[in-house]
């Protein structure tokens, strides 16, 4: 019922949506989230992004998060795809799709999975930023305190 995929290949949102809905006539609700590479972050123009991860732990961590979501809400399908490696502005980084007979459960689980992923799954972003002088430099993206705060609402 769960599909968890960590990969370098581009992410196809249409295909991932199709995967959660195919032959799924029991769940009337599907909540999804897509995170993409923005062109601007922390005051600088972003030219691209590379995602480092901890290969042995990444999938294990995502599986644990999805299992915990299933323990909290009645879910149908869960499809979680996360890219690693180099990517461009506007590329999709992450897709989470959750189906359920209940709208509230689908929304809550989708948001819960993202909140946990953002604080626990071993991914690290490194941006290429363009400075005003035209030079490019690479920098690690800083974690945000708000992500930790969001997690606390789930108790």
């Amino acid at each position: 019922m769960d599909r968890i995929d960590v990969r370098e290949a581009p992410l196809d949102v249409a295909a991932e949506y199709a995967a959660v809905q195919q032959a799924n006539t029991a769940d009337g609700a599907c909540a999804m989230f897509v995170g993409s590479v923005r062109d601007f972050n922390a005051g600088s123009a972003v030219g691209g992004l590379a995602l480092e991860h901890y290969p042995g732990m990444t999938e294990k961590s995502l599986r644990a998060i999805v299992a915990d979501a299933r323990g909290r809400w009645p879910l149908g399908r869960v499809n979680l795809v996360h890219r690693v490696g180099p990517m461009q502005v506007n590329d999709e980084i992450v897709f989470v799709g959750v189906t359920s007979p209940h709208r509230q459960a689908a929304f809550a689980a989708c948001q819960y999975i993202m909140d946990r992923l953002k604080t626990e799954a071993p991914f690290w972003k490194r941006e290429t930023v363009r400075r005003a002088c035209g030079a490019e430099e690479e920098r690690w993206v800083e974690a945000r305190a708000s992500d930790q705060a969001e997690l606390e609402k789930w108790g």
Partner: protein
Amino acid sequence: MIKVLFFARLRQQLGMGELRLEDFSGTVRSLCAVLCEKYPQWREHLDDDAIRVAVNQELADSDAAVAAGDEVAFFPPVTGG
């Protein structure tokens, strides 16, 4: 033998991604102390409350036990999604 891994900015700061340690048994905290003794220039990067630790690929705290055969990873706060 303990396998120790470093990721992302921490890997770059330490200039090392992986090392192996013979004959260690203790906690994450004492492992960290052993490493900082061996590489004093690591202290400012490794002995930092923001650094997270996983033992055998699961998040752990500084009291977690570490013994032969374990894999311990140190890394900065995660920024995926």
